[in-house]
Symmetry: C2
Subunit: 110 residues, 2 copies
């Protein structure tokens, strides 16, 4: 059996034991502000101040969102002098955003 792509058979047999992890990961992305943050990070790494400016999300809220994204392994950060630089750490993130783009942006759909 091929294992590179997911068929409906694999989805229904292999995914169920992992639905908790998978849904936790999806929950990490399933918020407008976090998607906005990830759109910014998709262009390249950003420090927190920049993310706050670019997205308009309030500082405390930003910290909480970044913390949640970090907990789920979606992003990671590095310390540069006294700023924290965040970046997308998980390849699945970009893949899922690509599906969203295809669905909501590439075609003109309500």
């Amino acid at each position: 059996m091929e294992c590179k792509d997911a068929t409906s058979v694999e989805l229904s047999h292999a995914l169920p034991p992992r639905v908790d992890d998978a849904s936790a990961f999806l929950k990490g992305l399933a918020n407008p502000h976090r998607l906005l943050i990830l759109c910014a990070l998709a262009q390249g790494e950003r420090n927190v101040s920049t993310l706050i400016t670019e997205t308009g999300v309030a500082p405390a809220s930003m910290s909480q969102h970044l913390s949640k994204l970090k907990d789920e392994g979606v992003v990671d950060f590095r310390r540069d002098h006294r700023t924290l630089t965040y970046f997308i750490a998980h390849p699945a993130t970009i893949q899922i955003m690509a599906v969203l783009y295809d669905h909501f942006c590439a075609r003109d759909e309500a």
Copy 2:
């Protein structure tokens, strides 16, 4: 510019106006029971009783989950005699589940 796949440029420019819709769609999938339901539906259409048996989700809860999935356009149903047959209505759903499979099942990752 190519439009078939999403680059980081497209993600950061095209997705932001649609983050509310995109995150609503993701929220539809971001629950263990709903993922379980979708895994069953990935094998083929199912009536509600079958879904209840296969997933172990309680009837009232099942109705609410199906209702939410329907609201987001993830699934749709058809009436057969006196049972309702649900099926996956959105192609993006399978694509996202395939990404989850790749990430959580194809590789052995914690």
